[in-house]
Symmetry: C2
Subunit: 163 residues, 2 copies
């Protein structure tokens, strides 16, 4: 049987099988993440290997890459064939680091929260949560946030209980 029988997917078929909307697929194509050939009538036809690329894109997004970064990553993989172990090793290795970092950050956050639950977070100056070092570090301009004064919240004016 000649290959070109079922091997070219319409955008609708690709959408159904990838779980993405056709609009998303066109968008991906406009970004150069996937490619198509055209019929004589100018309709898109995708190689089945496009499903692989799409799966890659979605996985990469989950790892936190932007579509722009995905495109870069995709450039290292063969367009129409399954990647070799070597291909994978490079790409997936980088992802692992990202994932590890993300996990580490979450675990830190969790530890802080646990501490806060224990302490009741009655003190601004003592609560780890309020000394949001990660965030401030990531954001750039210095980890000040709280703590810059605040020996236990200080005197608050007579605001009274809210309505």
């Amino acid at each position: 049987m000649t290959p070109s029988r079922h091997d070219r997917l319409t955008i609708g078929q690709l959408a159904e099988r990838s779980g993405l909307a056709t609009s998303a697929l066109r968008y991906y194509e406009s970004l150069g993440l996937i490619h198509s050939e055209r019929t004589t009538g100018n309709q898109r036809r995708y190689a089945r290997s496009t499903l692989r690329r799409i799966a890659f894109v979605r996985a990469a997004q989950q790892v936190g890459l932007s579509l722009d970064e995905v495109r870069t990553a995709l450039a290292r993989l063969p367009e129409d064939r399954a990647p070799t172990p070597r291909d994978w090793h490079t790409v997936a290795g980088a992802w692992q680091h990202r994932i590890d970092r993300q996990i580490a950050e979450l675990q830190q956050m969790k530890a802080k929260l646990t501490g806060c639950i224990g302490c009741g977070c009655l003190s601004l100056s003592r609560c780890a949560l309020y000394n949001a070092d990660d965030r401030a570090a990531a954001a750039g301009p210095g980890a000040r946030y709280l703590l810059t004064r605040d020996p236990d919240d200080g005197p608050e004016p007579a605001v009274g209980p809210e309505g």
Copy 2:
């Protein structure tokens, strides 16, 4: 000493001490995340407790809440006082679950990647990565993605090696 001496912060002071831009603070206020009183000249003055609310907001964002969700969460906390352990317990407990889920997802992803590195991901139908169950489940409309056929990639047309 009367409290209202240093206890009211201008938006600039709040910005400096929270690490946020004044524009962000006004935006937060427009969303009802923080509140201010006004001077006779219509300028905002914030209670120092606002710093706590902001810290809360940032922390919540890190945990993955939208600002809308943050507002809901904030509604459970006292406006002008540090939260009690009980207050915290509720909120932070919910966050912990979120964090746990996120960590679990990342670890799953990582495991998949590890498997993929090992197997070289030469097979669409066998690669865990391509059966993106998490994503599909989260996205709603059924975990199809790949696997719907594909007994090892199938015959690909003569595309030849890329440039």
